[in-house]
C-alpha cells in the first residue's frame, strides 16, 4: 500500500521535475578586467584618441592610450567603434515609479508640502524594469528626484547598476525646492491670473517663514542647544550649513530672477533646475554664477507668442551667456531619451561639443563628482559606453555599457519581447 502511494506521488510530482531545468540563460552584470581595444575614444576632457584602448579593472579606468598592455584582461575588440563616458541625466524619477498612473507604484511624492527629509535613495527600486531599459542607451547615471510641494525631499545621484540603493549611489545628494511659480502647470491649468498671483504670494510667504525657521534651527544647533526632534529642520539645516546644495526648480523668467535674489540673499549653495525660460534672463543667471540643469529639450514653448523652437534653443542660449548648463530628460521610464535631448540642444545652437559636456562632465562638476565621473580619464570610475557612432544619433547602436566596472548585459524586457515576437510561432494558423 505504501509502495503504491509512493508511485502515485511520484506520478503526481513528475511534471514538476522539469522545473529544475530552464531554457536560455540570464546574463548577469559582470565585474572583471576588460580591455576595450582599437576604438575612437572621446575623452571629453582630453580630446579624442584614435585607435586607442581603455583598460578597466577594479571598477576604475586603469589606462587609456594607443599602447595599453592587456595583461590578463578580457579583450573586447572595438574596431570601428567609439567610446564615450557614460551619460549623466540631470533629473528624473527613475526607480521611484514603476507604472506612471498607478498610485501603488508612485514613490516620488510624500504627503505634506515641506518634507525635505524624504530620501529618494530609500525608495529607489534597483530592480525596476525601467533601469535596464535605460542603461542600454548609454545613460549610466541619473539624479533621481522627489517632486511635489515646496520641499518634496532629497534627490540622489544613482548609477544604473546594483542590487541595493547603496550599491547604486553615485555620491551626490541635494534637497529639492520648488520655488514659488507664477507659471501655469500645463495648458490644462484653468486658474485665473488672480488665483495664480495669490498662490504665488502665499507660497513665497511660506517659503520665507520656513527658511527663517531653518536658519534659527541651525543657529541654535551650532550653539549647542538641545532641540526637539524635528527631521524636516534637521535636513534643511544641512542646506543652511552648505553641506547639502539646494536644487531649485524654477521656470518662468520672472520667477528665475526672484529665485536668484532669494538664493543670493540667503547665501545658499544652489543649482537651478528646469529653467525653461532661462534664455530670457541668461545673463542674470550667468552673473549670479549659478549652474543650471535644464530639460526636457523636447517641450513646447512656454508662451504662445514664443518662437516654436524656444525650448530647443534654451540651453544653447544660456551656454553662450556663460552659464554652466547640464541637461536632463526629466522623465522616468524614458530617461533613455537623454542623448536625443542633448542632440536637439546641439542642433539648435549649443553645438555638439558643449551638448556632450552637458550630459557628461558638466553634470559631474555640478554634482561634485567630477573626480569619478563625466570623462574618460585614468583613475575615474569605469563607467562608459561603446557605440557604432555618435550616441546622440538615433541611427547609432550602443554595443557595450560599463557601469562602475561592471559590464552590464545589453538586454532588457523590451529586447526580450523583440526576440520572442519578431517571428512569432505559430503565426496566423491555429495551433
Amino acid at each position: 500500500m505504501k509502495k503504491l502511494l509512493y508511485i502515485a506521488l511520484s506520478l503526481v510530482l513528475l511534471p514538476f521535475m522539469g522545473f529544475a531545468q530552464f531554457d536560455g540563460e540570464f546574463v548577469k552584470p559582470k565585474n572583471g578586467r576588460f580591455l576595450l581595444q582599437n576604438a575612437t575614444i572621446i575623452t571629453v576632457t582630453n580630446g579624442t584618441i584614435q585607435n586607442g584602448s581603455v583598460l578597466l579593472a577594479d571598477g576604475k579606468i586603469q589606462a587609456i592610450g594607443q599602447q595599453v598592455n592587456p595583461g590578463d584582461a578580457e579583450v573586447i575588440d572595438c574596431t570601428g567603434l567609439f567610446i564615450y563616458p557614460g551619460l549623466i541625466d540631470g533629473g528624473s524619477r527613475l526607480g521611484l515609479v514603476e507604472v506612471g498612473s498607478l498610485a501603488e507604484t508612485q514613490d516620488y511624492a510624500e504627503i505634506g508640502s515641506v518634507t525635505p527629509n524624504m530620501e529618494a535613495l530609500v525608495a529607489v527600486n534597483p530592480n525596476s524594469v525601467a533601469i535596464p531599459v535605460t542603461r542600454v542607451s548609454g545613460v549610466t547615471t541619473t539624479l533621481t528626484m522627489p517632486s511635489g510641494g515646496l520641499f518634496p525631499g532629497t534627490a540622489a545621484l544613482i548609477n544604473l547598476n546594483g542590487y541595493t540603493p547603496d550599491q547604486m549611489f553615485a555620491g551626490f545628494k541635494g534637497v529639492v525646492m520648488n520655488f514659488p511659480s507664477s507659471a501655469r502647470r500645463s495648458t490644462w491649468d484653468r486658474r485665473s491670473d488672480d488665483d495664480i498671483k495669490k498662490e504665488f504670494d502665499k507660497a513665497q510667504e511660506t517659503l520665507n517663514e520656513i527658511w527663517e525657521k531653518a536658519t534659527t534651527y541651525h543657529r541654535l544647533k551650532t550653539a549647542g542647544a538641545t532641540l526637539e526632534y524635528y527631521p524636516e529642520m534637521e535636513q534643511l539645516s544641512k542646506v543652511v550649513a552648505g553641506e547639502l546644495p539646494l536644487l531649485v526648480e524654477v521656470n518662468a523668467a520672472a520667477d528665475i530672477l526672484k529665485a536668484i535674489d532669494w538664493i543670493t540673499s540667503k547665501e545658499v549653495k544652489a543649482i537651478l533646475t528646469g529653467v525653461a525660460e532661462g534664455w530670457r534672463v541668461a545673463d542674470k543667471i550667468a552673473a549670479a554664477k549659478l549652474p543650471v540643469v535644464t530639460g526636457p529639450m523636447l517641450s513646447i514653448p512656454t508662451r504662445q507668442s514664443d518662437r516654436y523652437d524656444a525650448a530647443y534653443t534654451n540651453p544653447g542660449k544660456m551656454a553662450k551667456a556663460g552659464v554652466k548648463v547640464a541637461i536632463r530628460a526629466n522623465d522616468a521610464e524614458n530617461t533613455r531619451n537623454l542623448p536625443f535631448n542633448a542632440g536637439f540642444a546641439a542642433a539648435y545652437g549649443m553645438g555638439k561639443e558643449e551638448a556632450l559636456k552637458a550630459v557628461t562632465i558638466y553634470p559631474a562638476e555640478i554634482f561634485g563628482v567630477a573626480d569619478r565621473l563625466g570623462s574618460l580619464e585614468v583613475g575615474k570610475d569605469a563607467t562608459l559606453l561603446v557605440a557604432t557612432g555618435d550616441p546622440f544619433e538615433t541611427r547609432t547602436q550602443i554595443r557595450h555599457v560599463f557601469i562602475d566596472g561592471y559590464r552590464v548585459p545589453m538586454s532588457n524586457r523590451h529586447i526580450k519581447l523583440y526576440q520572442e515576437f519578431l517571428e512569432r510561432s505559430p503565426g496566423l494558423e491555429k495551433n
Partner: protein, 459 residues
Amino acid sequence: MKKIFQAFLISLLPMSWSVAQTPTGSVLIKNAHVLTVTQGDLENTDVLVENGVIKKIGKNLSATNIEVIDASGLYLMPGIIDAHSHVALDAVNEATAPITSEVKMADVVNPYDIGLYRALAGGVTISHAMHGSANAIGGQNITLKHRYGSGNPEDLFMKEAPRTIKFALGENPTRVHGRGNGIQPRTRMGVDAVIRNGFNEAIQYKKSWEDYNKALKVKGASPVPPKYNERLQTLADILDGDIIIHCHSYRADEIYALINTCREFGVTNIVFSHVNEGFKVAPELAAYTMGASVFADWWAYKFEVYYSTAYNAAILTRNNVITSINSDSGELIRHLYHEAGKAQRYGELTDEETLALITINPAKQLGIADKVGSIEEGKQADLVLFNEHPLSVYAIPQMTFVDGVKYFDIKADDNDMRLRVSASEIVEPIFLKEHDHRCMHGVDFFFTNFGRNLFNHSH
C-alpha cells in the same frame, strides 16, 4: 428694404467663394536630395509644383513666373502625416455614453491654434484630428491639412479624405463608464459587447430603412418612415465600409477581440492606434487590418502599456503590418521625424522603411495615399525641406509646403506667429508644458477622488 437685403446677399458671395477654394501654390525646388519614399532617393533633383500639384520630378527643370528655390544641400521629403492627433481641437471628448458616433470633430476645429504652426515647423502637413478615448465608440474624426492662416475651420479640412471614426478599448472607456459612471463597459468583455450591440442595432436600423424604401416602391403604399438616428446611421455607414475605424488600443487581447468582432460583421476598414502590444498579434494585424499607428517608445505610463516594447514598430514592419508613428500630443507632433528615428534605432529599420512610418503609411491608414504621402508626379504638393537627412537628430526643417503654398519658412519665422492675439489677456500666460495626454481631455467631471491621479497620464 429689398434692395438692402440684396446688397447684403451679394456681399456674402465672396465669402462663399473663399469657402469653396483653398489656396494652392506653384514653386520650383531645384537641386534637392529628394526622398520620394515610394520611388527611392534622387540626388540633385528638381521638383516642379503647379497649382498645388507635383507636376514634374527630374533634372534641369525650368519654369517661368513662379518662385524658384535653390535647395542644394537640402533634403526634400513628403509632408509628414500624423494619424492620431488632437491639435486644433477645442473639445476632445463627448464622454456621456459608451457610444457617441453622432459627434463630429469637424464642429470643434480651432484654426487659430498655434499648435498648427508649430506642427508645420516640424514638417507636419496633415493631421488626423480625433475624438478622445473615453467611449468604446467615440465621435467622427476630421483629417486636417495644416493651411494655417485662415480663420475658417473648413479651410483646414481635407475634403477628399474618407470619413473616419474613433473607437477605444481597455482602461479608458472602462474607467470613464464602468468605474466612473457605473454603466457598461467596466471590463474588456463589456467593451466588446458595447461594440457588438451597437453593430447589431445598426443592422436592425439599416433594415428598417431598407424595408421602408422597398415599401415606398409599392404602388399606392404610404409607409411610415423610421425615426432618423444619427448615431445608428453612422454605425450603419461603418458596416457599409464607408468609414474607417481608428481604434485606441493597447493590449494584445483587446486588439485580437476587436479584429474578431470586425471580421464577424464584415468590417475591414480598421486601423489600430497606439497599439502598444500590437507586436504580439502582428500576423493578425497584417492579415485583417489597415495597420497599426504606434508610439515610437512610450510605455509604462499606465498598466496596460507596461508590457510594451520600443521594438513594436520594427516587429510590425517586419511582419508586413502597415505601420505608422503617431503623436497624440501637441509636443510630439513637432518632431515626428525624430520619433521615427527612434523607431529606426530599435530594430534597425532602413531609412525608407523609417520614413514610410510618417508619410505613406499614415496616408494609407487615412485613405489618402493616392493623393499624399510620397513625392510622385500628380500628387498634392505637401513637402518639407530639411537641412540634413530628416532621420538625423541634427536635422532642422527649413520650409514646409501644403498644396504648394509655403506655410513655414525658418528664415521668415517671426517672434510671434499667432493669428489672433487676445485683447483681454494682459499678461500672457506661461505654460510649463503642453498637456500632452489629450485623449482623456474633458472627462474629469466623472471623477472625484478615485482615479483623478490617472489624469497625469491618460492616453
